[in-house]
Symmetry: C2
Subunit: 423 residues, 2 copies
């Protein structure tokens, strides 16, 4: 572990020093860096794909499954999407240096906020090489240095990508140390990295819940993290049932894997008999398994579709699969209470034409995104107009919900005087 | 420890449930609660002072020192200041429910931010009973529940104060469980509290650095914390030296104990020979010990005042005492680098008439407050116009610098649609 500590100290010290230079980099230099990076990704396309081929071969030899290999694989189309991501971040306004809320106080001093970088961002992620570029461009645009620790199966690909970033930094007159790539699969390095508050201002993990939970348990640095995505759609007694059908179908079936897909459908008792038969048919047609409470199971089965009994665990489960749990509730208050108890504070929606019900739901549901008459699948940085996102936070501090460029910045107080002292 | 865990689970569950009711409390109910609290503090003045007398007796019997007893002691004047604090927080606008930045996105959905409480705030603090009231009124006004763990020497006083808060909550129709008072000196309870992310949304420690550092090491819940206050005043070559004298005197000597008092004076070489003799006289007159680098010591001694050599530790020391470390620097860049290396990222000031130097200092010094031509002593929630402060954060995430009411809130996304699904 002391070797790991030395490695992280060396790399962390370099990142810290580079972060000071990045903090004062001009918007133009940062834009040039991204422009150079896009060119390097294009020019090195063959080398990147070859490196990725080697990683894929290694992963196959290890017997990793298709889903894993799919996340690891780069193709010309995926590389083009990466470059498009660079173009999008280039188009975002540079957030650093903005001064806001400048007020004059009774003492005569003026006090305002200046937007500044966080400093050093550490990313720990699984074997998805696109995260290397997505994370680096956001962190650098926000004036930070970044430490990258990707999944070991993507090491060869990530090395080539990190070198593209380093070259782009140098060509823009920025310190190439502003990107630090952990070029080793040694797991002790992760342990050393997440316990180094002197080098890391924020840790952003990207990956499955078990990875994030493990890091949260051991980390001694602040984190922006995402745990579960147990999202609900609640169909109120005053819902437009046609809208409820299309929105719920979209929320559950547009894609199954994302964290913002709905996992539990709550239906008010007054509309359950009318709504659930049509809903069940849609789910049946798409092969979505229905796990139901007693009443909803009866209604679904009476409509001629099959359902199974939900177990207590179902109400606390993120399926990321064509499975939905369904429950009939007696009231809006019961729905809200159920969501606050069993949800993951991620994204929850109400379908209703009743403005009072909508207001109550939006105020009382304690989730990072609360929605009225629309699909939980919209919980996303691009859809919210933030531009690229570095992740979705289920924390409450600092950043909640989709985290874009601003989530990688902080604000410091700027105080301007004319020689005042305090009395 | 399992008894402690049970105690914290019981108390945490009650706080969590109460926080849901507080989150939807009307501004009027919260204002009524504070008005009732002020009345209870007045009506129970004798009981509070008697309880405090018992605590003071216990602390004296334990042989605790004068400074400790002074922090613990309540007087009619201090009680009046507490009530004045309640009045001030009553006067702040209620932050909860504000919706901002509502935009319409290409999909047709509208996306905005709603300001919401954090949930459950835990305060761990030393034997200063005023913190019980200061923290509770800010937390409750921001719609949170609060768990209070004060120093064991103040237990009797805090119990009476907590009962005043509970009574005020009940009379305002709010849940009295919104304040949870840990009525036991058992240290295991602290360990259980700071490792309970299911009950605690944010932990705010108030007290000496060793307490805060210990909590930061063991906590598994997010913290807003304050470690050192190693603040600098830098006198630039283009300073108005008369202003530099009065501002530096104020920054060091107006009060010695606060975290925003200047601990290190940096002086540009070009003005050191002119500035330091006058400065040394002021420090000498007030009995401030000067710990100097070689050149500044020479200048101070040639002016007829005594100085001692600074050790390397002096540059990293928060004195909170009539001691100042002094160093001559060759350039603005050296001053900035020195502050970023040896400071605590709390508050640092430049004295200069040169706008370019000021701009560079304000941008490049990585501290929660950066100041131009004024005293570091101004780093304070009241002076910044935030109203009461719950503390000063030296963290970068969520809240940086003085933390007022807004620091005890979060923002969630509100999404309004008309039946949209995602494509």
């Amino acid at each position: 572990m002391s070797d790991a500590r030395d490695y992280i100290d060396r790399l962390g010290r370099a990142a810290r020093a580079a972060s000071r230079l990045m903090a004062k980099a001009s918007p133009d230099a940062k834009a040039q860096c991204l422009t150079h990076l896009r060119a390097h990704l294009k020019a090195n396309e063959a080398a990147i794909l070859e490196a990725n081929r080697q990683d894929l071969e290694g992963a196959k030899a290890k017997g990793l499954d298709e889903a894993f290999l799919d996340r690891l694989a780069l193709t010309p189309a995926r590389l083009a999407a990466m470059m498009e991501g660079v173009t999008q971040v280039l188009g975002l306004p540079d957030p650093i240096g903005e001064i806001s809320n400048m007020t004059r106080q009774p003492s005569g001093i003026r006090v305002g906020h200046m937007r500044v970088p966080l400093g050093v961002v550490a990313m720990i992620y699984e074997a998805r090489p696109n995260v290397t570029i997505d994370a680096a461009i956001l962190a650098l645009k926000a004036g930070n240095a970044i430490i990258l620790r990707g999944g070991s199966e993507a090491l060869t690909t990530n090395r080539v990508l990190a070198n593209c970033i380093k070259a782009a930094l140098s060509e823009a007159g920025l310190p190439k140390d502003a990107v630090q790539f952990i070029d080793s699969p040694d797991r002790d390095l992760v342990g050393a990295l997440i316990t180094a508050p002197e080098w890391v201002d924020v840790l952003i993990p990207r990956g499955g819940k078990s990875l994030v939970a493990r890091l949260a348990k051991d980390a001694r640095v602040p984190m922006i993290k995402h745990l579960d995505g147990i999202c609900h759609t609640y169909v109120d007694k005053d819902a437009d049932l046609k809208m409820a059908l299309t929105v719920t179908e979209n929320a559950k079936t547009q894609r199954y894997a994302p964290c913002n897909a709905t996992e539990t459908l709550l239906v008010h008792k007054k509309v359950a008999f009318k709504f659930l038969p049509d809903m069940a048919r849609l789910f049946y047609d798409k092969g979505v398994e229905m796990r139901c409470d007693e009443l909803s199971r009866r209604i679904v089965e009476q409509s001629g579709y099959s359902a199974v009994d939900a177990t207590p665990e179902d109400w606390d489960t993120e399926y990321n699969a064509p499975i939905i749990s369904i429950k009939v509730v007696e009231s809006l208050a019961e729905a809200i209470d159920f969501i606050n108890t069993h949800g993951s504070h991620h994204t929850d929606a109400i379908i209703t034409e009743n403005v009072h019900a909508a207001e109550q739901f939006l105020v009382e549901v304690d989730s990072s995104s609360v929605m009225h008459n629309t699909s939980t699948r919209f919980a996303d940085g691009f859809e919210y107009g933030l531009g690229a996102e570095i992740g979705i936070s289920t924390d409450k501090l600092h950043a909640r919900g989709p985290v874009g460029l601003l989530g990688l910045t902080s604000q410091k107080f700027v105080v301007l005087g004319q020689g005042q002292g305090r009395h």
